[in-house]
Amino acid sequence: MAEGRATPVGIIVTVAFALPFIIVGLAAAYFGYQSHELLTVPLGLVFVGAGVAQIVRVLRRTRSAEARAAAIASHQSATLRDVLPPTNVDYRTATRTNFTALEIYGRVLGVAPLPPIRTRPGVSLPIALPIRDEASGIGTFVVGSIFFVGGLSMGIVAVFSSAGGGALMSGAFALVGALVLIFFFKKRMARLKLPHVELSTEPVFLGEPFRVHIIQVGPARITRLRVDLSCKERVTFTVGTDTRHEENEVFNQELLDDPGETLRAGERWPHDLHVTLPATCPASFKSKHNAIAWTLRVRAEILNWPDYDEHYELRALPKPVGLQ
């Protein structure tokens, strides 16, 4: 069952827990403002916000899980109505059968429990896929920099003040920061060599053929290029205060394993792959804690350069029986 309704006792406990945060936060903000210690004001407001958020959260849960989900669904469809892809056709009255999944599912894609995928026009095929984790990694860079610079400067101070233990601890911090920064820069460099990954259509139909183009652009000395297609169930669950993740592979197919090529600057190395997903495999699905994810994994070993290993998610949908 989904998260249950909040009981009166639960509401009282939550409010009793949240009120001190609000009171202390308000007091800190007020006295910070009075004494011109302006840094205390936002800190106090953060405490107020945390307390208010707790109370709002528990008050929302006085309704049933279905009532809350219905309110969210209603809000989503109102928000997405104007920004959805082209119309979906009624396959039951249609005179042709060669519809694409986009034509059939059309408006549904914005409100159905599916992963949001922001494709863009491709060069050799209509759809270019983005990498699944497109985040710039700026958070990793900031954390690594803080550890490295902070550890290094504290270490220097500790050495000059003859505090041996402090120097050791600071050195450890600086080392962790350096490793995080190395990881960040390796990932950024590897992504400079990423190939274009393009599809003939997206979403794809289960049981229908489609094409995948992998276009590696030079300069690069690729010693091995591999492409796999997989379908995995992914779940997130809570045990006590821990959030855990687990996945189960439902389907995996190796699409390409090439021994590599040396490419000059601007040279293109294309691979044209013809793929048919099994009709019996599950369709893509994405909700808050559960997902069925179809991904292309593209990895390369590169001479004198960091290797890349990236995932590109696509949506696989069932083909209506009337069109088969």
Partner: protein, 121 residues
């Protein structure tokens, strides 16, 4: 409160088809002031935390309704969406249900009656 869910066209539906049914409610002594909700929804089961999506929601009886409002049949009709389909995997199961929930009094549990159905091609 006694409640039953009837689905005269069976428990297997194709996406796009109409699901029609009715909920029969029979209040029992002491049921005054208790709310009853009807929802058609998909719900995940399995190892992950539960998620649900509601495609139809109606309050059949709210707490302030007279006892007579709770008695009788409440027909409903909803178009089955294209996704998600019913799925029985290893870590995830996706099931569809018609659900009647009687809202419990303060300090007591809600009573839930589910009528599962399948959505597939």
């Amino acid at each position: 409160m006694s409640a039953s869910i009837e689905m005269p066209f069976g428990t297997r539906y194709r996406p796009g088809s109409m699901l029609r049914g009715k909920v029969a409610l029979l209040p029992l002594p002491g049921d005054e002031g208790q709310g009853v909700e009807l929802a058609v929804l998909w719900e995940t089961e399995g190892k992950g935390d539960t998620d649900l999506g509601v495609i139809y929601y109606r309050v059949l009886v709210d707490g302030s309704s007279p006892p007579s409002a709770a008695r009788g049949e409440h027909p409903f009709e909803v178009q089955v969406p294209a996704l998600p389909l019913t799925y029985n995997g290893t870590l995830i199961k996706i099931g569809w249900r018609v659900r009647v929930r009687r809202i419990g009094r303060i300090g007591s549990q809600d009573t839930v009656i589910d009528q599962p159905f399948e959505v597939s091609w």
